[in-house]
Amino acid sequence: MLSQLRTLWTVLQHTFTKADTVEYPDVMPYLPPRYRARIVLTRDPDGEERCVACNLCAAACPVDCIALQKTEDDEGRWYPEWFRINFSRCVVCGLCEEACPTHAIQLTPDFEYCEYNRQNMVYEKEDLLISGTGKYHDYNFYRIAGKAISGKDKGQARNEEQPINIKSLLP
């Protein structure tokens, strides 16, 4: 009983404490860069699409709201032919970003993407792709992985020797 009364008293005291509410949108809150909201596809430092259409984000997505189709250019570079996120299903959990091996898919602090029409919540690649590198400025997957693409032949990735001449028997 006493504890109930004490609670009443404590709560009553809060009449004189300041409200914690931030009056969005009059006052914009500070959201750190790692805040999880709208998803974007970024580009590598060379300005090329980072996404290699590996499908790991789609596999990681707990609500299965990512779908994409792989294609590749003449030089063997993989990229998504189309990339679709159904934001009306997205729970901004960020697992896609964690799954992404190329830092392509990133969550941004921009959370203001409500729509009156639910159909407009479906974002295609053109809507997702931004022109910058996002949070990770230097990473370039193809400079590290051994697959040859335009402008980077075999042996030019990180820690790679020049290709072996298989006709040579020299050690």
Partner: protein
């Protein structure tokens, strides 16, 4: 003619008060929970009341196909009517009450018990297991708490020697506020009042984490709105009656009119109701019943006994 004007005034005031209470409650809850509450619509968010009213009037009024249609519609009206009727005996100021009944207090008790039908019929007519559970809870709760609600007031009646509400107020001019002489009666009535109006912490008939929304699960639109208004009217009524019976009604210093004092005291109690909601958690249902029968009933009986004994002693 005067009575007609008074009735109209009270009716309008009460109904707008009920609506305003929604806003008030949300603001107060906000303040006590370190939030702001509704503040975007109009001055201090007062426009929210209007917005809510527009919303609730224009909402789809859905009657489930499996419901007992007649009773389903009737149920929410009972609570509002009963609460408004009860206000008839409340004296707002000297000689200002709709009906200065000699059995005013009994009339109040009768009316507030009638409200129980509203809940029971609503739950029954919904033909929904959650609604039925809620109404059963409400019935049991009302029956249990009504017993000592009446008993707790008998002390006041003994001291005054009248069931007339105005007499009771006037009696406090001589005796001082009954809250001092009938403190136990006040506490018991307060608890019973909360339970009668199904307010937190005794809102088990609509405990949403257990039985969805209790008796009004199937209600929507204005019919739900009537239940809602009924609840706030109940809050206002209990506050007004507490003020009248224990805090000297309209009595107060001369520099303000009596109506002001009455309203101020009632307002404070309404705020207290909100504070309860902000602070106190809901008990379990068995705890509620046990508290009623094993604690409150003996206390109120004891209180009545002692009051009667003292009154007799003084009289002799």
């Amino acid at each position: 003619m005067n009575t007609a004007i008074l009735i109209a005034t009270v009716l309008i005031c009460l109904l707008s008060l009920a609506a305003l209470l929604i806003w008030l409650e949300r603001r107060l809850l906000g303040i006590w929970q370190d939030r702001l509450g509704p503040n975007r619509v109009g001055f201090l968010g007062l426009g929210q009341v209007v917005a809510d009213m527009i919303k609730i009037f224009t909402k789809e009024d859905w009657i489930p196909p499996f419901a007992d249609k007649g009773i389903f519609i009737l149920a929410p009206t009972i609570v509002v009517i009963a609460m408004l009727m009860a206000f008839a005996v409340v004296p707002f100021a000297p000689d200002t009450s709709i009906s200065n009944l000699n059995i005013g207090l009994l009339f109040f008790l009768a009316m507030s018990s009638l409200a129980a039908y509203s809940v029971m019929l609503g739950g029954y007519a919904s033909n929904n297991k959650y609604a039925l559970l809620g109404s059963l809870r409400a019935a049991a709760q009302t029956v249990s708490y009504e017993v000592f609600m009446g008993l707790s007031l008998m002390g006041v009646v003994l001291l005054t020697g009248s069931f007339n509400m105005s007499d009771i107020v006037l009696a406090q001019k001589e005796h001082g506020w009954f809250v001092f002489s009938q403190f136990v009666g006040f506490i018991v009535f307060l608890v019973a009042g909360i339970a009668e109006s199904h307010r937190l912490p005794f809102d088990l008939p609509e405990a949403e984490h257990e039985i969805v929304a209790g008796f009004h699960t199937e209600y929507s639109g204005m019919k739900f709105g009537l239940f809602f208004i009924g609840e706030y009217l109940g809050v206002a009524l209990i506050s007004a009656v507490i003020t009248t019976l224990f805090f000297g009604g309209w009595l107060g210093p001369e520099f303000m009119p009596p109506l002001f004092w009455f309203c101020l005291k009632t307002f404070i109690f309404i705020c207290f109701f909100v504070l309860l909601r902000a602070a106190v958690p809901r008990p379990r249902y068995d705890q509620l019943m046990m508290f009623g029968w094993k604690v409150m009933l003996p206390i109120s009986l004891l209180n009545l006994l002692i009051t009667a004994a003292l009154t007799l002693a003084r009289a002799s």
